[in-house]
């Protein structure tokens, strides 16, 4: 579980990288080996390993080595904490601005309508 602000900062920092977001999206579908994560990426295996280490350090991803294969899984609890902070505020405003669009459409014939096509 994610209780400390420092951890949340690290989660946001980890997700600020587009390559790491691709990896997290892939892992949200199910576990994958490091080489599977590397396949769609235009980067070396060593670079992918470094990204996985960042994701592990903030708790978003766990990995386990069995034989020669390291398998990564998402820690959905940590992902949920990070999402909550952002989506809650954001969705409130998305809904508001959708309603604003509806309101503007409904009042389109109002006297304050400036010239249009």
């Amino acid at each position: 579980m994610l209780n400390q602000t420092a951890d949340l900062d690290r989660v946001f920092q980890a997700l600020a990288d587009p390559g790491r977001r691709v990896m997290v999206e892939r892992l949200s579908l199910g576990p994958a080996s490091v080489s599977e994560l590397a396949r769609p990426m235009a980067m070396s295996l060593a670079a992918v390993v470094q990204h996985v280490q960042v994701l592990e350090a903030c708790g978003l991803v766990r990995s386990q080595k069995v034989g020669r294969t390291r398998t990564c899984t998402i820690n959905s609890g940590v992902l949920g904490s990070a999402e909550r902070w952002i989506t809650e505020r954001r969705t409130t405003w998305e809904h508001r601005l959708d309603r604003l669009g509806d309101y503007l459409a409904e009042t389109a014939d109002g006297p304050d309508l400036t010239g249009g096509p």
Partner: protein, 151 residues
């Protein structure tokens, strides 16, 4: 519950409306217009809303969502008619301050319509890490998060 913490977050939402900037601005500039889309629903308000749309003026809503009372208290800092509104607001849950944010509504003409860019920079205080807010992770929400973080 007594843990003290702060978390910062910035998000940006862009919308394009087929309405002139003056009309979009007007939707923010009067209580009657804003009540049509902003919320909270009038039936949840426990006092008459304050609405003083001028630099230095306050906007204040107190609404009841059982079991708590939420207070939204904003101060306008910059108003350029048809172009820009900047304000800061506090959110309270009962007597506990939940967050302080700076919000910018930036309006740009876009053909005969308007591009609206809403930016909110906030600091969120302790006590918000409640299990009931937890949500399951999905790839779709990650896309949103990516947009937010890139914004």
């Amino acid at each position: 519950m007594t843990e003290h913490s702060v978390t910062h977050n910035t998000f940006v939402i862009d919308r394009t409306y087929p309405a002139a900037p003056e009309r979009v601005f007007a939707a923010f500039a009067s209580l009657d217009a804003k009540a049509q889309w902003f919320g909270a629903p009038r039936e949840t308000l426990v006092t008459d809303p304050e609405f003083d749309f001028r630099v230095g003026g306050h906007e204040r809503f107190v609404s009841k969502h059982e079991p708590a009372t939420y207070t939204y208290d904003a101060v306008y800092y910059d108003i350029v008619p048809g172009r820009r509104i900047v304000y800061a607001y506090e959110m309270y849950q009962d007597d506990a301050r939940m967050s302080v944010s700076v919000a910018t509504v930036d309006l740009t003409p876009d053909g005969t319509g308007t591009r609206l860019s809403y930016t909110e920079q906030g600091v969120y205080f302790d006590g918000l890490d409640k299990p009931e807010y937890r949500e399951h992770g999905t790839a779709a929400q990650l896309d949103k998060m990516g947009t937010t973080l890139a914004g």
